[in-house]
Every structure is written in C-alpha cells, then in structure tokens.
C-alpha cells in the first residue's frame, strides 16, 4: 500500500514568506508526527497529533510555526514569516501502534 507522502518535496521561499507543507499519512493511522531535520543533524520532534487533536506541540520552535489536522487525516505544517534558520527538511511520520513510518520529507530553503 501507499506510504506516507509529503508535498511539495522541495520548497524555496524568500525570507518573510509564509509556507505550507502537507502530509498525507498512511490510511487509518491515528498518530501523526512532524519533525525538523537541519543539515547534519538528526530529526527533532516538533508536534504530535492523535486523530485531530494536537496532543503535544512542545517542539515547535516559535509561534511562527503552526500545525493542524482538522479531519484526523491530512496534516499541514505552516510556517509564517520564514527565516533563514527555518531551512531544513521537514519530516512527517504516522503510526497506528508503535512503529512510526516516515515520509520522504520536504526540503525547505529560505533565501
């Protein structure tokens, strides 16, 4: 079956622009996670949803970052007024019980 998909795969934004990154989890997966992976680093947890409820957003680096999952399936990570330090790969993962399955990531470059 289809795995986790993310779009766009690459995004270039000018500093100050808003961006929206989409994640389509595996069908039926209750849990959805967002991670940020800077160059040369491991993924860092941003936020976690169980169905449509955002249960943990402790990893969001600032109030410019906002995530939603209104119908408990597709999720969007929005970054407002992008800064150069936001440049990273943004990974989405979904799980039902235990194992998290990762998407291919969206590489965001802020110029």
């Amino acid at each position: 079956g289809a795995g986790v998909s993310q779009s766009p795969r690459y995004k270039v934004a000018k500093r100050g622009q808003d961006v929206a990154l989409r994640c389509d989890p595996i069908s039926g997966h209750v849990s959805l996670f967002w991670y940020q992976q800077a160059l040369g680093q491991g993924p860092e947890f941003l936020t976690y949803f169980q169905n449509e409820a955002q249960l943990d957003k402790s990893g969001l680096p600032s109030d410019r970052f906002f995530a939603e999952r209104p119908e408990g399936s597709v999720s969007t990570l929005k970054i407002q007024r992008t800064q150069q330090e936001d440049s990273a790969v943004y990974l989405c993962a979904s799980s039902s019980i235990g194992e998290q399955f990762f998407g291919p990531g969206t590489r965001l470059t802020v110029l």
Partner: protein, 111 residues
C-alpha cells in the same frame, strides 16, 4: 531532559569486518530504544527496536540499562549496509510519543 548521543559522525570499515555503531542515552524513566536507517535517496525507516529483540539484516542491538547504551552491531559488514544510522528514544508510560534522535552516524563499507 532526554538525550541520545551518537559519538561517531562517520564510521568507515572494510567489507567483512565487524561493525559497532555506538549509542548512549539519558532518560529518567524506562525508555524504548530504536535504530533507524536511511539509505541513499530513501526515506528513514525502522531497522530494529529493543523490545522485539530481533536480528534484522544481521544487525543486533542490546539495551544496557547500567551503561545507558544501545549499540548496534553486525559481525560481518556488507557493502549494502552503507547508510546513515540514527539511534532514537521514546519515553514509556505517558507523555509525548515523539522520538528523540541522535545526530546520526554515517556508515561507509569499503570494498
């Protein structure tokens, strides 16, 4: 705070030689430990988790609570093992389900 440390950024060994990728963690409770692997141009995928105590692709990892380590081992390296390896931790029993990753070790198997 929970933390995962992978002291080697790069590890290069010859084909057929033993491999050990080190992982140490700090966590106040009982964690669940994982190894994830990312092959070139592929997405992050689970290699193994300590609770299953499996051997996957010849790799094993034992959780040593006394030394707070979860080193990944393989007795005879193969060229197809070349990849980025990430050790990750998740707290058990409540709290966020998000994973805490190490910075990763780039394993290169030389012919």
């Amino acid at each position: 705070a929970q933390r995962v440390t992978q002291p080697e950024k790069l590890l290069s060994v010859f084909k057929g030689a033993p491999v050990e990728l080190k992982c140490n963690y700090s966590y106040s409770g009982s964690p669940e430990l994982f190894w994830y692997v990312q092959y070139s141009r592929q997405r992050l995928q689970l290699l193994l988790r300590h609770i299953s105590r499996e051997s996957i692709k010849g790799f094993t990892a034992d959780l040593n609570k006394g030394e707070t380590s979860f080193h990944l081992k393989k007795p005879f390296a193969q060229e197809e093992d070349s990849a980025m390896y990430y050790c990750a931790l998740r707290g058990l029993g409540g709290g966020a389900d998000g994973l805490t990753f190490g910075k990763g070790t780039h394993l290169i198997i030389q012919p």
